[in-house]
Amino acid sequence: MGTVAPRIRVVLLAAASLVIASVPFLTDDRYLLKILTFVGLNAIVVAGLALLLGFAGQISMGHAAFFGLGAYTSAYLTTAHEVPWLLAVAAGTLLAATGGLLLALPSLRLKGHYLAMATLGFNEIMSVLFVEMRGITGGNDGLSGIPFPSIGSLVIDSPAAIYILVWAVAALAFVGAANLVRTRPGRAMRALHGSELGALASGVNTVGLKVQVFAVSAALAGLAGALYAHSVGFISPSQFSLEFSILLVAMVVVGGTGSLTGPFIAAVALTLLQYVHALIPGLSKDAAALIQDWEVDISGLVMILTVIFVPGGLAAFLKRRRSGAGVEGEIA
């Protein structure tokens, strides 16, 4: 990021924010707003996962489960116990963070591939629990009638209002993450990614750092999940499957390591890929169905090709174009 003049960055950032903020004033298409809300929700998860995978170099294949944990917690508390929305969302976020902490404490002492498998196992365990703990989760039928977000007497029930709420949280997540990576913990994370032994030798508490980053990123996934539950009103186990976890990883990989902008762009692109039919008006039904049918293949292939040919992802590509300089962060 340091290669672009700060002024240009500010202008670009302001332009992007303006575009995102002006959407509800330009359209009242409920479906379109809903899709763009999903984009915002995925962006929140990706902000956390980019910290974990792109900066600290730790892979998680369980973020769909944290997303689900947040969604089910908040949905259950508001429907079964009429807990106020804000409190329920906070509980969902906290539970996801705690889950992340409990998973991370033992497994982050392990090497990369063990962690990947541990988180994958966690995702599968949660998938079974979401189905089997019927008393809380409603089993395969899921939970329905989840109330809209509300604070006191203010009910956020229009698609435009929900859109604004989600994107406001996404903006906060990215600002928070951007601040984090610029400060001491961010430098420590990059050191960790570069060489764990080197970081350790330089006085970085690598295990503590990894656990903290993992918990933060699980919390963001839980927060997004809770927001998701209240913006769609219905959740069921299939929405929190391993496929979603892998898609999230794909977003960060394609977006690039050591960057927040890259993963953000990739999150937007790969989320929209699922909804091409609604975005390109002229697209024939058959073409849209074809793209949807091949969406997983496209994501998977793009992920492989990125690692092989552009290891630094979208971010490195942008950087190279702008500065002509070498690539700084790659998946090593």
């Binding site: 990369g112 063990y114 079974v128 089997e132 990883v249 690692v307 998946i331």
Partner: protein, 292 residues
């Protein structure tokens, strides 16, 4: 619970355990020669079953279809290594893990395009009623499962200990650099170990398909179970993979017998996490320190 019933559960456990063992052997083989976990291992299992069904539908006699299914999967395994992994051979584990994750996504999805989203079944290798031993019924297909597992393990042990190729593989698992200096073509070893891992996975997928049916999305969970088995025994050691597989199968079926069938998958996975956390080197493994 009577002894006949208990025996019945033990038979089921050993049957599933053999399948886990075959998948675990695939993990171990690739880990041995490359030091990475192949997240597409479960997809080899899936492809074996699906391709055999496909060849039967083409009109091939069952034995030929089975062999063709296994061989075609081997080709996929070799091609996957050559095309997707070799270009980044010298990168760290994270890049390679991500490539295998992407590979499993693509293989699963391509299989859905090619063979459809339905459950498919393969005829039993030998027709006929189950054999009753001491009150426990054993399906004829289970004998095939055990037979093929024994053949695979024996073949692999022979390859590892008696052939020049096996010695090269073991050398590679110690150090690629040193192996290369000794004149071993490490790239070829890595590619062949992917091919062999694909054969083992496909074999498991083919032989169990008559019992459980198969579909495009069975790979992820069996991959996880096979990995759990490999970890349980101790990653990198073929005998340990078999012990881990059988142990996992028995634990699973005993937990169905005594606890609940609903949570049998959870029990296997919790076991995986516990072993990972408490004793990542496995039951039979020795603790190793990461090389600097």
């Amino acid at each position: 619970m009577g002894s006949a019933e208990l025996l019945q559960f033990a038979v089921a456990g050993l049957k599933n355990g053999s399948i886990y063992a075959l998948v675990a052997l695939g993990f171990t083989l690739v880990f041995g020669s490359t030091g990475i976990i192949n997240f597409a291992q479960g997809e080899f299992f899936m492809l074996g079953g699906m391709l055999a069904v496909f060849f039967v539908k083409l009109g091939l006699p069952l034995p030929l279809a089975v062999v063709a299914g296994v061989l075609a999967t081997a080709v996929v395994g070799l091609a996957f290594e050559r095309v997707a992994l070799r270009p980044r051979r010298d990168s760290g584990p994270l890049a390679l893990i991500i490539i295998t994750i992407g590979g499993s996504m693509v293989l699963r999805s391509l299989s859905r395009h090619a063979f459809g989203g339905n459950e498919l079944s393969l005829p039993a290798f030998t027709e006929g009623p189950s054999i009753v031993v001491a009150g426990a019924a054993i399906e004829r297909q289970a004998l095939w499962v055990w037979g093929l597992t024994i053949v695979a393990v024996a073949g692999l042990s022979w390859l590892y200990s008696k052939t020049k190729f096996g010695r090269s593989m073991r050398a590679c698992s110690l150090s690629h650099e040193a192996s290369r200096l000794m004149g071993i073509d490490t790239a070829r070893i890595v590619m062949v170990s992917f091919g062999l891992a694909a054969v083992l996975g496909a074999l498991a997928g083919v032989v169990v398909a008559p019992l459980t049916q198969t579909s495009f999305n069975v790979g992820a969970r069996i991959g996880l179970k096979g990995f759990a088995a490999a970890i349980l025994g101790g990653l990198g050691n073929p005998i340990a993979a078999v012990v881990g597989g059988l142990a996992l199968g028995l634990v699973e079926s005993m937990s169905i017998a005594f606890i609940s069938s609903t949570y049998k998958d959870v029990i296997a996975l919790v076991l995986l996490l516990v072993v990972l956390f408490v004793r990542p080197e496995g039951i039979l493994g020795r603790a190793t320190r990461e090389k600097v």
